[in-house]
């Protein structure tokens, strides 16, 4: 199997989580993967969630809704509103993890798509209303994130277990 493009996750500030990932496809096509529900359904949450709802009203002010179901039957609902749509370059949307407590905190996701040498790089930054929200998302939501500084955790754990063993 050919090597995968690598996912990079960092925390550029204490309120943000950033992800960068390249795809071997033209930008216009990758843009569609993120903006058309029939495509999003094909990959979002793959291996973790069965997509039960995927609705996209791709207009500024238009809403979207993604819901997935975990293997043990828990619903994981996300929703938000499109704020900026510059096809196929830039997408800004709000994101709410739609469960009690969490739904009071909104994230703003800015995604840029850049193409070079037939590859499209997707760079996505989620900015939360506070550090607490971000950490809550990291701790309990379905958002991803490994702080750049936390990359040492693996190192630490390995060293610690060597020590213990």
């Amino acid at each position: 199997m050919s090597a995968r493009n690598k996912l990079a996750i960092t925390t550029p500030s204490e309120r943000e989580i950033a992800m960068t990932r390249a795809f071997d496809a033209p930008r216009a096509l990758v843009w569609q993967m993120f903006t058309r529900p029939e495509h999003v359904r094909q990959w979002w949450g793959h291996g973790h969630l069965e997509v039960t709802v995927c609705e996209i009203d791709l207009r500024v002010g238009g809403a979207y809704r993604y819901t997935g179901r975990t293997p043990d039957g828990m619903e994981v609902p996300f929703r938000g509103v499109y704020r900026e749509i510059v096809a196929p370059e830039r997408l800004v949307l709000t994101e709410i993890y739609d469960v009690p407590m969490a739904r009071d905190h909104e994230g703003v996701v800015t995604t840029t798509f850049t193409e070079a040498a037939g590859k499209t790089t997707v760079h996505s930054v989620v900015r939360y209303d506070s550090k607490e929200t971000r950490d809550m998302v990291l701790a309990s939501g379905m958002e991803s994130g490994v702080a750049s500084g936390y990359d040492r955790i693996d190192e630490l754990l390995q060293a610690a277990s060597r020590e213990a063993g």
Partner: protein
Amino acid sequence: MSRNLDATFAALADPTRRAMLARLAEGEVSVTDLAAPFDMSLAAVSKHLKVLERAGLIIRGREAQWRPCRLDARPLQEVATYLERYRRFWEDSFDRLDDYLKTLQQQDGRQDETHERTKDGDHERSHERTKDRSKHRRSNERRDDRRSNERRSHERKK
């Protein structure tokens, strides 16, 4: 549990404390030795240690005079497990998107060949085919988009 996690995150947010943990991962060490690489007072070091201790990341010996510090990896394990899960969520999603893009582009390539063969033919026929092959609808639409773009640029040239 989530409160513990908050404390762990807060403790890990500081580069000095992470460096201290890295040092402690190598084994038990005294406060003086722990402070040595850092350009800071013992008081400042002991403040960092208190944060780490509150987060349950280190255990400090009470008995010995030099109060050795020792790493407790359990909270780290907890955080790493969480973070690892979220990383995997996106990694798995994007890997799947890779495969899906590959499939779409292969289909698209095949259809472009068909398109080449029929580009002088009438549009009705090609449209009918599009309807028949509904599962390939999207890539056909893309092709149509592209075709109309080509047409537009052709018109501009005229």
